[in-house]
Symmetry: C2
Subunit: 195 residues, 2 copies
DNA sequence: CCGATATTTCAGTAAGTTCTGAAAATACGG
DNA sequence: CCGTATTTTCAGAACTTACTGAAATATCGG
């Protein structure tokens, strides 16, 4: 590997973090390299930059494509495949969160739905099922929120994130303005289960 | 392993998902078992329920404690350690997200801060550093939002999640009510960098 | 089609992780 | 303190994942 120090630091870091992110070192490094690169790179560029085998790069790129994290491009008069990350970093985040949800949450959500259909016999099983229902309801709330937020334009999303919990203040203001004084509102319905 | 089918299904699933979540099979199974159990369990209970070695359970419990995901308890007149998950599932989510942030995001955030202090020489390095700045700003926005939201009471948090992007409507309403008509507001400041 | 260039597949090996049983350490009641 | 109950540590075995080089496959210009 022979990269400018700044770039090398970042690439090596991504490689090391890979294992925590559920990808392997090479995949992490390839991604970091593409992310920082001004221009798209072909497989041999990556081999040279990272000093790993050609086949390893091929597999890594395949995995990144499976994650929808890289874009395949071509240059006129050049048969090789060139790869790049999206320029828009928010697009990257959206893809990343989407894919992680798909891999890490959706299977469990499906299982919970199935298991909640079954009949629980013993008290032990009934307690377990109640726990699973709590988890299920929580998943539904989170994924519902996520689906909703994912639809927002980036500018709106940034606006929301910047506000943070100050949104709360606005909600309270709204309550004060529009809810019948003394009324409790319908807030309690939102809680998925008695905790 | 000899568990009621409902419980066994869930426990095995958590074991299989473990690798996607960055924990190993046994740790996943132990956690699932504790989560579903009405009462705290000791290490031998877990050995019996899962059919794994005593030492493996010991290590698994240690890891779960490092994640702050289980609580150690004692019973009067019994020297053994008993383990349980928090009853409040929202507490579990908060811990989980905290820990994942600590392991998966914070180290990169630190690295980005460091690398952005350095002087970029070549145009290649300057472009890379610009990319890192985009990532850095995005991390700052996300972690700022997260710190903010993590402070909310659970009830408020649920309220917010239930609203989802409908918050947007309320923001628009607020804008209409309070912003000088024709004024552009200060929204654009929020965008961390030109994308 | 042919030959050259580019990519993918795959078997074998290297490296890393998980798990076990045995031994060591710790904690406690008497 | 001693003996016992309990937990932890650890070396090695079993298993899983990552990586390589070589061979196979695919693609394209002529």
């Amino acid at each position: 590997m022979n990269l400018p120090p700044l770039i090398q630091t970042f690439v090596l870091h991504f490689g090391e973090m890979g294992s925590r992110w559920g990808i392997n070192r090479t995949v992490g490094q390839i991604y970091a390299l593409l992310f920082l690169s001004r221009d798209p790179l072909n497989a041999d560029d990556i081999v040279e930059a990272l000093g790993v085998s050609r086949s390893n790069v091929s597999m890594g790129l395949k995995e990144l494509q499976a994650w929808n994290l890289v874009r395949l491009q071509h240059r006129p008069g050049d048969r090789r495949d060139y790869f790049a990350t999206p320029d828009d970093i928010w697009q990257i985040v959206r893809t990343l969160v989407d894919e992680r949800k798909k891999r890490e949450l959706d299977p469990t959500q499906t299982l919970l739905r199935e298991v909640l259909m079954q009949r629980a016999g013993t008290p032990e099983e009934r307690h377990a099922q109640e726990r699973m229902r709590e988890m299920h309801d929580l998943f539904e709330l989170l994924t519902g929120w996520y689906a909703d937020v994912q639809k927002l334009e980036t500018e709106r999303l940034i606006q929301l994130l910047t506000l943070g919990s100050k949104v709360q203040k606005i909600l309270e203001m709204k309550d004060r303005l529009f809810v019948v004084p003394g009324g409790r509102g319908k807030r309690r319905d939102a809680k998925p289960s008695e905790s």
